[in-house]
């Protein structure tokens, strides 16, 4: 239960794209005076974030730019792509699926399997597993996993518990059927009891949009939001993540008989520094094996793992072999870990739009 092994699947390249607008938390009056700002930055680790900031930029646009760059550097023809998965909780439309729109924008063939997956912080992990399942037997040879979110659009700028934490990003991961490769070793899990820990109350079909959805409510000083904006139970997520993430990683290593000391890097979803450090110390991982991108980009939801790989491990990924553990955890509650080995993959420089 919970474990899957998709053999014969390799990652050939990863690319990422963020909006060029940079916001600096050190200038954010929402956080209070300079001492309070410093305390926030020390706790969460978020100094700057990249935001779409009202521009007509969706997650799909960020993913598009990442994918276009990646396909060009990989020298893959768009019509060779057999499957396209778009993972996001900030899609273009309620319907149709954004993956269909991306099929056209990227010039992929009509004979392309395309669908959206709705998940957040665990989204890249789940998306990799889904695309691994599609490619593993060779029926599909090449696939693109696009994972991205414009999370900042769903956060109230008057809510200090959410707004300063998140950033926007879109990524593209190219996978190929490769006979004999060790593939993807996966652990995934779900606990729907925690579904209210991270939630947007209105806008779905349980509580559809109505004029009251846009009314702001002050929950406490510095926490003002409406029902179309994300509510985040920080402590609840902290407790969940420091328990489940290490267990998932250890469980995967044990199940597949992997030696933790032979893993080169552990790329964790960039939730917040204090939480991630807790996971690192629990697993007794040395600092140099656990890269962070949160100080520059904030928590970028489904794109955080590939974004961290592109911005912090580009040299290592492009020049040699890497043994990686990747772990995503968050909204749902949903979490998972993947062990994969890469060899000189294509990793363009970060794209800014």
């Amino acid at each position: 239960m919970g474990f899957q092994h998709f053999k014969n699947v390799t990652v050939k390249g990863i690319a990422a794209c963020v909006p060029s607008n940079v916001f600096d938390n050190r200038k954010l009056s929402l956080l209070g005076n300079s001492d309070q700002i410093q305390k926030y930055i020390d706790t969460t680790g978020v100094v700057t974030r990249h935001l779409v900031n009202g521009r007509n930029l969706c997650s799909s646009d960020l993913c598009f730019h990442a994918a276009a760059k990646l396909l060009s550097e990989l020298n893959w023809r768009p019509d060779e792509i057999d499957c396209l998965l778009f993972v996001s909780q900030t899609p273009d439309y309620i319907m149709p699926a954004t993956a269909c729109i991306l099929q056209e924008k990227l010039g992929l063939a009509h004979e392309c399997f395309a669908m959206d997956i709705s998940l957040g912080c665990s989204g890249w992990i789940y998306g990799m597993a889904a695309i691994g399942a599609l490619i593993q037997n060779g029926g599909f040879k090449k696939g693109l996993l696009l994972a991205g979110d414009t999370s900042t659009v769903t956060k109230s700028p008057k809510d200090k518990s959410t707004y300063p934490l998140f950033g926007d990003g879109g990524t593209a991961t190219a996978l190929e059927y490769t006979e004999g490769s060790s593939g993807l070793m996966v652990h995934t899990a779900t606990d729907g009891k925690g579904y209210k820990a991270i939630i947007i109350p209105d806008g779905g079909f349980r509580n559809f949009y109505n004029p009251d959805s846009l009314k702001e409510v002050e929950y406490e000083d510095g926490i003002v939001r409406n029902n179309l904006q994300t509510s985040l139970d920080g402590p609840g997520v902290f407790v969940f993540a420091i328990s489940k993430a290490p267990r998932s990683i250890n469980g995967l290593l044990e199940h597949f008989d992997l030696d933790i000391n032979k893993v080169d890097y552990f790329i964790l979803h960039q939730a917040n520094k204090i939480l991630n450090e807790r996971i690192r110390t629990k697993l007794r991982l040395p600092v140099e094996k656990v890269p962070y991108s949160i100080e520059e980009f904030g928590n970028t939801s489904s794109s955080s793992i590939p974004l961290t790989m592109v911005t912090r491990l580009r040299q290592q990924l492009t020049k040699g072999q890497c043994k990686l553990i990747t772990c995503g955890f968050g909204v749902g509650l949903s979490w998972g870990t993947i062990y994969l080995e890469t060899e000189k993959i294509t990793c363009p420089e970060l794209v800014l739009v």
Binding site: T43, P235, I242
Partner: protein
């Protein structure tokens, strides 16, 4: 276990060594107590006792003694 817990607890609160901590104290009334200390305490209980107390359960605990009791229960199970 009680003494060790109190030491760990004092550390998680980032309180001075001289701070007196009694079993009957309502820890939320401490000057040091805030949302960050709450997270530190959760992390401490997890690392020292391998016990995770969920937010909903933690809310019901009022005193330092109550925390020790809850940990004790969970270690047994």
């Amino acid at each position: 276990m009680m003494e060790k817990f109190i030491d760990h607890f004092r550390e998680a609160l980032d309180a001075s060594e001289g701070k007196e901590i009694r079993l009957e104290d309502r820890f939320r009334d401490y000057d040091e107590w805030d949302s960050l200390r709450y997270l530190s305490v959760i992390a401490m209980i997890d690392s020292e006792y391998d016990v995770i107390i969920e937010t909903s359960e933690f809310k019901k605990i009022e005193t330092v003694g109550g925390l020790i009791e809850e940990i004790g229960k969970r270690i047994k199970t």
